[in-house]
């Protein structure tokens, strides 16, 4: 069991070295002499926990003396992978270009928040310049 825990933890540590760098570039697609390669930003996240042994501190001495192999244990783990499109590489006989992909939804939300922030500050400024409202 100890060796299994050690193997799991070692695998976890090695994962950052084995993450596939080529995952950020998609499959090239050629249409009418133009080849397009999608590019994305990829993030992997992972976590795990495992435990084995007596359930309480008051475990009896006889139980404590039992072989470790007879005890019960459990574990859980999980991971998440996210990919956000970043750009498209276009290859033509004339040359190679990188065309950025802009997340318009995210920018629209940020612009809305910025607009509200500016309106609040502008109103506050006008009140401070032209006098307090009664």
């Amino acid at each position: 069991m100890e060796a299994k825990v050690q193997n799991l933890l070692d695998a976890l540590a090695d994962l950052r070295d084995t993450a596939n760098v080529d995952a950020v570039f998609g499959e090239p697609t050629t249409v009418e002499g133009r080849t397009v390669i999608p590019v994305a930003r990829v993030t992997y996240g992972f976590g795990m926990g495992i435990g084995r042994g007596t359930l309480s501190a008051e475990a009896d001495a006889e139980e404590a003396a039992q072989d470790v192999a007879e005890k019960e244990g459990s574990g859980a783990g999980g991971g998440v992978v996210t990919a956000h499109p970043l750009a498209v590489i276009e290859v033509t006989p004339e040359g190679t270009w990188v065309k950025p992909v802009i997340d318009e939804q995210k920018l629209a939300l940020a612009a809305g928040l910025l607009g509200a922030w500016v309106v609040v500050w502008l109103a506050r400024t006008l009140v401070r310049i032209f006098g307090q409202p009664r």
Partner: protein, 110 residues
């Protein structure tokens, strides 16, 4: 009671890695990716218990592509325009109140 406890926290590591070349129309495109990783693992071994936990993340961000052809090698940067624009918005959110504060001082000083 025999007890052993181990903890290993890796520092935030970031380095540039070249991926597998992609061959397109007589050209070789080599992706350059910044790999940022962080991880931590912890184990506790006692007479009656054995526990282990670990977590980590790896972020792969493409930064450029190297175009190798008969005419030579060209470095083409890949920029995240969305993040740049959001950075601009954040900067504006700090600068606009400062400018308005200056405007108030100037108006009151008249």
């Amino acid at each position: 009671m025999d007890k052993k406890e181990g903890r290993l926290r890796g520092p935030m590591a970031s380095h540039l890695v070249e991926g597998q070349p992609i061959r397109v129309g007589g050209r070789e495109l080599v992706p350059v990716v910044r790999v940022t990783a962080r991880g931590q693992r912890r184990a506790h071994v006692g007479t009656n218990e054995l526990t282990g936990q670990g977590w980590g993340f790896v972020r792969l961000r493409p930064v450029a592509i190297l175009e190798r052809s008969a005419s030579g090698e060209r470095h083409i940067p890949i920029q995240d325009r969305t993040v740049q624009a959001l950075g601009g918005f954040l900067l504006a959110a700090f600068v606009i109140p400062l400018l308005l504060g200056v405007a108030v001082r100037l108006a009151r000083g008249r």
